[in-house]
Each structure stands twice: as C-alpha cells, then as structure tokens.
Amino acid sequence: MISKQVASAAEAVADIPDGASIMIGGFGEAGSPIELIHALIDQGAKNLTVISNNTGSGEVGLAALLQARRVTKVICSFPKTANSTVFPELYNEGFTALELVPQGTLAERIRAGGAGIPAFYTPAAVGTPLGEEKETRVLGGREYLLEFGLTADFALVKGQQADTFGNTLYNKTARNFGPIMAMAGATTIVQAANVVAAGEIDPETVVTPGIFVDRVVHVVDPLVESKLIAAGVSYP
C-alpha cells in the first residue's frame, strides 16, 4: 500500500541539506507553508537558495527563515511586502543575494523546470533592466528573451486537502505557485489541513496529481501569518 504520509513537519524536512535550493509556495501569506518553514528553521539547514514570490512579512514563516540567516540567495518577483523589514536588511548587508524575475517569467520558469523544458522565449522584460545581458531573439517580427527552466532540490507547498498518494487540492488563491512548484521540486513536501485515503478525492478535481508529491504532512490547523504578525509573534 502506497502512502506518502509522514508523521510530522520535522520528519518531512529532516533531510534538507545545507546549500539546498528550495521552492516555497505562497503569494504573501496566502499559501505559505508556515509549519514546514518553521520546521526547517528548527532543523538548521543553512546557505539555502529560496525560490518564492515574496520574502515574507514580520518575523514568522519565510521572513523568520531569512532572519535566522539561513538563506543566502532569493529568487523572487517582489521582495517588498508590507511589514517586510527582514529581507531589506539582509540584502543591504550583502548577506542575501537577490535574483529579481518578473512574476510571469518566474511562474513559467518553474513550470518549464517541472515539465522538462530547459528553456523558452518570452516577451516579458524585453528592453528593460531585467532583460539586459539576456539572450534575445526575434521571432515573427517580435523580440523575445531566452529564459531557463527552474528546478529545486525541494519544494514546500501548502495544500488544503491531500490523499495518501499525494493528490492535492488547494484553497482559493492559496493555490498560486503550489502546483507548479510541486512539479519542479526534486522532492516535494505538501502540508495539508486534511489528509484522506486515496480514493476520497474525485479524480476530476485533483489539482496536483500525486506523482508530483513525495511527502504529505497533516497540519491540522495551520497558522495564519497575518494573525501571528498582528499578535507580535516572532519565530522561533
């Protein structure tokens, strides 16, 4: 009997080594896998490259991982979230490097990485500073940039419901980067508020097929980032 369920967030992230590249789902707090991130802070891996749309808020979740000085590079589209003071300090100090990628290019690079497409052309960022030093090509009379697929050693994703095969459903706009990061992570870890037996999810409604998921962790009542911040919490 196949079951990808592991007992805890700690167990799920236990083998993430120093120097790993990690995709972390979420758009702001929506879809941010806080419990997995906190387990990763506890675990201690450092010198990480994090691929995520933002850089976290307050001093919990993704921001807390940065604040713990575990992340030496961030690949993201928008590091300037409200209440985001951690990343600017680390960036200005020179501790954490930034690769800024237009949001759609970031999404497509992740999807391409997961789909075995090593590179593709896109019109976004042509003629802008983010297109400088990139290879360009005119196709059908229009100029495009060559962009490369992006994969990661691990992907941390927040689902709403998952079954033991790893099939995953999401909640509203918390879906965002989850499904494509699940594709692009060599090892994909899903935390879900609801874990059910294979067969409990209608196969027509599956968003992330289980083949993209390696480990499922049941996180019953996930923390809400904005509530933690409002309460003045910092992690750890």
Binding site: E29, P102, T173, N176
Partner: protein, 221 residues
C-alpha cells in the same frame, strides 16, 4: 505646472476610463488608482476582473468578518469571488496574460514616454530594494494597456515625457493615458490629447506634459 486638485478627481478619472471598457471585457486592474475603476462600471456593462495571483472573477472586498487570508488580490488585499469565478495556478494565470487573453490592463505609472514606454516599478536608486511583480508580463501580454495617473508628480514634474528616466517596465506598450487633466493617446506621432477635463485648457495640458502634445480633442468628441 499643475496642482493635483485641477481637473478630474481620482474617482472621476476612474469613471472616465471605465467608459472606454467594452462590455464583457476581461480586465486586470493594477494597485492604486486602477482599483477605483471597479466602482464605476457603466450601467449595463459587466467586466470580469483577473488578478494574477490566480483568480478570474474577482469581486469586491468582503464584509468585515468575512475576510479570508487565502482569498486576496495582487495587492494582497482581501477580495471575494463572483458567481462564475475560477481559481488556477500562477503559470495558468500568466498564460492568460502573456497569451493575449486579457482585453485590458490598467496600471499606474511613474513615467510614460511619447513612444509608449512605461516606467512604473523602480526609481533605479542605488540601495533601493527593487520589486517588479507581474507588471512586465502584463504590459508585454495584454491586448490593451491603459495608464491611469496624475498628470504630474507631487513635486509638479511631468510624468509624460520624451524619454523615461526611470528603468522601464516595457517599451512601446502603453496605448492610452488617463490623467486628472486629460485623456491622451500614444500615437505614432507621439502624445495626442483626445479629451480634456472640464475647464482645463489645451495649453494647460501641454504645459504639464514633458513632450510635444498633439491636439485631437475635436476629433474625439
């Protein structure tokens, strides 16, 4: 130089722009003044709002107490989903944008050049943390790009210029600009004023514009 109080208010600018959106359009509204457009949909028309973080059919802000931190817009504000909405992941969302499926993107601007170049993401100042989000994808992919902005900066400098001084979001991407003073089209010949706010003279608009301005207000009416 003009002051911000002259001509249309922000709400009037949004109302004016909304008149130029066809019924049934799929529209992405940027953060700031663009968001006001949702309050001014002309009678008898329906617009379907796309937010790049994975929702088509975005509705208004929820009632207090009904906020869901997992139902937000691109500005990370709480929103709702209308009947007929759909959720999808980021790659699908930007497939809509890049693939030309959206009818209109409305964005704010720091500068717009007479060639339609847009600068709206970075001052380019050293040490500032840059953040681009989805703006470069929107201007590269959406069928029409409208800018809605005060005609001049708070310091009174023109935002409509010959060449953008700030780092570009996209080259030759803006179709029209809606300001407090006028509606301005980006043409092959440069900026053309096609409509002025009540009581605003053409010379006032021209003086507040940092590039040559063609007067086509007659033609547009």
């Amino acid at each position: 130089m003009t002051d911000g109080a002259q001509g249309w208010t922000r709400e009037q600018m949004a109302q004016r722009l909304a008149q130029d959106i066809a019924d049934g359009s799929y529209v992405n509204l940027g953060i700031g003044i663009p968001e006001l457009i949702a309050n001014h949909v002309p009678e008898g028309r329906t617009f379907i709002y796309h937010t790049e973080n994975g929702l088509l059919g975005m509705g208004p802000a929820p009632d207090e107490g009904d906020e869901d931190p997992e139902l937000v817009n691109a500005g990370k504000k709480y929103v709702t989903a209308i009947d007929g909405a759909a959720f999808f992941h980021h790659a699908d969302s930007f497939a809509m944008i890049r693939g030309g499926h959206l009818d209109l993107s409305v964005l704010g601007a720091m500068q717009v050049s007479q060639h339609g170049d847009l600068a709206n993401w970075s001052t380019g100042k050293p040490g500032a943390i840059p953040g681009v989000g989805g703006a470069m994808d929107l201007v590269a992919g959406v069928k029409q790009v409208f800018v809605i902005t005060q005609h001049c900066t708070k310091a009174g400098e023109p935002k409509l210029v010959e060449q953008c001084a700030y780092p570009l979001t996209g080259k030759a991407v803006v179709d029209r600009i809606y300001t407090n003073l006028a509606v301005i089209e980006v043409t092959a010949d440069g900026f053309a004023c096609i409509e002025r706010a009540p009581g605003v003279a053409f010379d006032t608009v021209a003086a507040a514009t940092g590039a040559p301005l063609i007067d086509r207000c007659g033609a547009a009416s």
